[in-house]
């Protein structure tokens, strides 16, 4: 059994909030530069240049890449041989989130009730925490702050088996066209296929965390990702929805076995400020 102190988690989480908000991950940056080179629309080039310039300013001056520093979404892998001393994992993460958002001048964007009152909680908590128990004695925490604009454009559909591969492609491409400029394209497209209603949505969000430019280890899904990416970029929605070749930087799929009657498919879009940061304790 290994003990990890509550305070240690709180500190690490607070640091994650800062890194995620200020530093565009290297994989996203590299992808944006690659697409900038290949872009043919002058207007789209201008937008991509502004995004790259913005990333440089944010990193140099330690400023948030986007004013929407998001709902703090955590993916936590907790080793079964770890015991947290001084409080629960949920309290430690929320406490670190409040500290990180306050100390690094991030926007507090959470209201206490979705429907009634909608009063800002003032510290960007509660966070959304997905906890997975794994073997071993490590604690791995990934933060993916998620902006409201791209989250609002996400969709889920309970497709049926006859829809198949073509049905999945149509649904995803249609989602991108309907979203237009709202999710701040170029986007990262996270797709969850299979499981159940809520599992598909979870998988779609998790798919956003994969390294941009990496290839799906399953050849069927790797090919599907390529085809969807080509179709999405052929829509010419473009950066900011104002036309161009670069509508998405990447398409990532996570899949899971499902019921004989079902083909749940979820699309979670991430804006071009695809922020995430990980720490392992």
């Amino acid at each position: 059994m290994r003990y990890i102190e509550f305070k240690e988690i709180e500190c690490a989480v607070s640091e994650l909030c800062i890194t995620a908000a200020y530093d565009l991950p290297a994989d996203v940056l590299a992808s944006m530069k690659k697409y900038r080179k290949e872009e043919s629309s002058e207007r789209a080039k201008m937008f991509l240049d502004q995004c790259l310039q913005n990333a440089a300013i944010a990193a140099d001056e330690r400023l948030p890449l986007c004013q929407d520093t998001g709902v703090a979404v955590y993916f936590v892998e907790l080793g079964e041989d770890v015991k947290i001393r001084g409080g629960t994992i949920y309290d430690a993460i929320n406490s670190g989130t409040a500290r990180g958002y306050h100390e690094s001048y991030l926007r507090k964007s959470i209201v206490d009730d979705p429907l009634f009152g909608r009063k800002n909680t003032g510290d960007n908590t509660p966070a959304v925490i997905h906890l997975e128990i794994v073997s071993g004695e490590q604690l791995k925490i990934t933060l993916a702050p998620k902006g409201g604009g791209s989250e609002n454009m996400s969709q889920i559909k309970m497709l049926t088996p006859q829809a198949g591969r073509a049905g999945v492609i149509d649904f995803v491409v249609k989602s991108i066209i309907e979203a237009g400029g709202n999710p701040c394209p170029p986007v990262i497209v996270g797709i969850g296929i299979g499981g159940s209603f809520e599992k598909a949505a979870y998988l779609a969000k998790k798919a956003l965390l994969r390294e941009v430019g990496s290839i799906n280890p399953d050849p069927n899904y790797a090919e599907l990702e390529n085809e969807i990416l080509k179709r999405v970029n052929a829509t010419q929605v473009g950066p900011q929805g104002l036309g161009g070749d670069t509508t998405a930087l990447a398409v990532h799929i996570e899949h899971f076995p499902c019921h004989i009657a079902s083909l749940p498919t979820a699309v979670n879009l991430n804006c071009h400020a695809a922020r995430h940061a990980t720490v392992t304790l």
Partner: protein, 178 residues
């Protein structure tokens, strides 16, 4: 080629703008998001005076992040505009609002109102929030401080880079359906 323009606007200034033009905006602009729009429209519905004069003004759909010490404002990029679609025609008709700044397409109702009352919609670059903050030289809260980032701010901007995305003549640059 960037065209330099400044607030406040009159009808002639709005009619001179066409979709696709890149502009650099200077002068005073006001911020408002969903919650502030709702309050302003509730006041109009109840025939109450507004806490801010929007005649000839530009409204920027933004909820900035807090300023670091030594900074005027935090990061300040546009939020998605369609959430203001239900409110914008009311403001355009009743206040003399002449320009809106945001990201993403607007509803047919908003576009119709823009043509009828001569109003323009500028796209600011979503996600370029640290860069945009460089063109904001002054920031103060006007009202609704209880709304936090959603309070109405008075901003002074210098050469804020914008694109005329929808003009008052019925031209619209947006692709897709969103």
């Amino acid at each position: 080629m960037n065209i330099k323009i400044s607030t406040p606007f009159d009808d002639a200034a709005i009619m001179a703008l066409t979709a696709g033009q890149q502009v650099l905006l200077s002068g005073v602009i006001y911020t408002a998001r969903d919650a502030a729009h709702k309050r302003l429209c509730d006041l109009i519905a109840n025939k109450q005076p507004l806490p801010v004069d929007l005649k000839g003004a530009a409204l920027y759909f933004v909820g900035p992040s807090p300023p670091k010490p030594g900074y005027v404002i935090g990061s300040a990029g546009p939020t998605t505009s369609y959430r203001m679609d239900a409110y914008s025609p009311i403001l355009i008709e009743h206040t003399g609002l002449k320009a809106m700044i945001g990201k993403g397409n607007r509803s047919p109702e908003v576009q119709k109102s823009m043509q009828q009352y001569r109003c323009v919609y500028f796209a600011a670059t979503g996600g370029a929030a640290a860069l945009i903050a460089k063109s904001i030289v002054k920031c103060e809260v006007v009202c609704y401080e209880d709304l936090g980032p959603e309070a109405i701010h008075r901003l002074e901007v210098k050469d804020f880079p914008l694109l005329v995305a929808i003009d008052c003549h019925g031209n619209n640059l947006y692709k897709g359906e969103g």
